[in-house]
Symmetry: C4
Subunit: 242 residues, 4 copies
């Protein structure tokens, strides 16, 4: 089992990887559920992911109250994370980002489906949450638990949910797998856009294929990518077994 | 309060950030109003933004006359800056650039509107100025105050204005916020193009949403990005409070 | 004649080049037929191409059994390579990759043809293999010889074959030429997509042109690129004569 | 006046700049007319532009015969250069490249026109040469003077000419200005494609505007970019006066 220190190092790496892979720019964030206390999660203070360091990682209650702030300022939108951990006991990591490919799918009514095997973990259909439906005109930020819970409801049992005019959230049972899904969600968006501009009859993965790929995506597979992303983000790679 | 020296360092950083973020190539420029004299502004000598150094920053009257040229050659289009400061006492920083996304919106009659929350500071609708309307066939450069004033008139009370066959101008109440707007104006252009190629019914931010986002975009938010951009441009970050 | 050691260094370089040129991300692989034994091939252990080192190169029988595993874990999809070497005695190198441009051509029914001279080595028309036709719903990975052989059958006598919802395979008579084809297959995909979005009457190379280019693409030509790719991948260049 | 040594250094820099700006990949080339002998030109041996060094620069007669080969192998397509110098006494520099944006304009029948002021030096309309018209099915390379002269005829008095299924040529009265035109030809292609996908009524520069811009593009302007490109290509900048 990984130590808390190792998991925090992984969380810092996840921040850097998401930045170097173009999934977050100066905004967006990634958290893990606390390994020793399922009622808590770990998330950086309010800082651009590419700059996040070990000392930036804070602990929060599921309601978003900092446990050990020590003067550090939290992200306004941390409620996305807490509400997901609250609604989904299986979720151990949460990412919120605004990668460019997902934005058009949030505002056009076009449905996203996996176009290639590596993108199958996004789920067979990606739902879209519109904050305005329940909360009217807002600044589109998820700044309280009511909003976070409404978003988690739309996520339902899936791994991904788009947010209209804002971005998306990605969840998973493990941090590295969640980063993997966020990266291939963005790739799927770009490839689907290209394919749909070429033809009205795009062959998506079948439901059966999507399920089979999701079932066979292994720790070894994800670590092959993780080792590579670590190298590109100049972060040490820690090996884990499936 | 920041010292003049600190503001000049920030202006050099703004040049480098706009270059590393792809908002300017070898052309384009950024200025600030002189902090001690609202009738003056500070702008680099004629040099590519990525190369600009402290010693390149010159002082100009609003009419564009260099106060301390010392052999340095000014940008031909400095009148964009002076005319904006003249027309808009609230404006403290001005950017002129030709980022690729904005060009198509200047020549197609398509209207730009914010597609995501981070782009809301561009304004609900971005006007387009055509130099030819008033000045006929020119080399499209804004080389005198009459042209600069005509452009400032089209900008009106907004933060952004496209220039047909040329680029755009972006203004703001503070340098970093203005850089932020220029960067997300370019992103909005790219995302809106993609979305509009996918659907004729794109859901833009509502007016209410755009206003709320613009109202809540804080110094802390902008500094989160500014720290990150400084890192990417290998420039030191100076913290400021909201 | 190159020594085995030199060929293994070239194979490591091919991995790095394919990564730095954007043809593989963390996945995809490249092999060569063993120079001393046509019934064997050389392929990295299961690792991201950009990370591959000399000590990662394993030897396999054409059926995909590792000859000298020494604890190293092979790629699940090595059968793509073995089946190609088995079916095509002329083939000395095989690449499997998922470069973004080829995906849309695998799922839309659009046919890929060369749009410029440097892309002529992809062949006059690129076939598409759909794993589902023969194997039903799978996880889309080529994990046994039956699948590999079915893919090799679709490849037939050509140099390239797309794989629906997955990627492509590229083969050649020599490693560097095969890397060249994989790189220009991706470029052709991007350029053809742009051209076809602009016009319904795209002028592809004629069959005669495609054949003439393929016939005159020389070792010297390919080495001009190879030297450049080595430089970009920080790998030493070894000169070879045509 | 620049010395021959300085001009050769500039030519090496031009090679590197064209590579770092994405105008050439491993192929393409750039030459200058010999400053002391209008019947000769200077061009690298057959090598990728990003790798070109001072010792690679060879001297050729206009017919393409190497004057001082010393074992160095010339580009097969050097006749593009010689034929342009022969036909156009005003031309002092020639570039041949395959940048991605120009390819679709060579194979779709769409006409390229300047969409922004910086692209006006490409000319009001860019002609397209089809090697097949006169020479039938070839490998599309310009490998003799007859082909080079036919291409130069299509170029006529302009600065740019596309080559169907191949790339383009760019000429100018001075090396740096020619590099500038090649870079903005590529940008124009990308921007025009985007604009034309958004609207059927794109506002190009008027003829009058294009002429005025071309007339006022100064040495100082081009050097602003040249200094920047040198920095990006890690090459020293040599200042010149207009």
């Amino acid at each position: 089992m990984a130590t808390l220190k190792e998991l925090i190092e992984d969380l810092v790496t996840a921040n850097r990887v998401l930045a170097t892979q173009g999934i977050v720019d100066s905004f967006g964030h990634v958290s893990i559920r606390h390994p020793d206390n399922p009622k808590r999660y770990l998330l950086s203070r309010s800082r651009a992911p590419e700059r996040v360091e070990t000392g930036d990682i804070m602990e929060f209650t599921l309601e978003g109250d900092p446990v050990n702030a020590e003067g550090r300022k939290p992200y306004l939108e941390r409620f996305i994370h807490g509400a997901a951990y609250e609604a989904r006991p299986d979720v151990m990591a949460v990412i919120h980002n605004h990668s460019p490919g997902v934005i058009p799918y949030g505002i056009t009514g076009r449905k996203m489906h996996p176009v290639m095997h590596m993108c199958a973990t996004i789920g067979y259909e990606v739902p879209v949450w519109d904050q305005r439906t329940k909360f009217g005109d807002t600044d589109l930020l998820v700044t309280n638990m009511a909003m976070g819970r409404d978003l988690a409801k739309k996520l339902s049992k899936g791994r991904t949910c788009l947010m209209r005019g804002h971005g998306c959230m990605v969840v998973g049972k493990e941090l590295r797998a969640t980063v993997y899904t966020a990266i291939y969600l963005e790739l799927n968006a770009k490839l689907q856009m290209q394919a749909e501009s070429m033809s009205k009859k795009v062959k998506f993965l079948t439901k059966g294929e999507a399920e089979k790929v999701a079932a066979t995506t292994s720790v070894a597979n994800i670590n092959r990518a993780w080792e590579n992303w670590c190298g590109k983000a100049s972060r040490p790679y820690r090996h884990t077994e499936g």
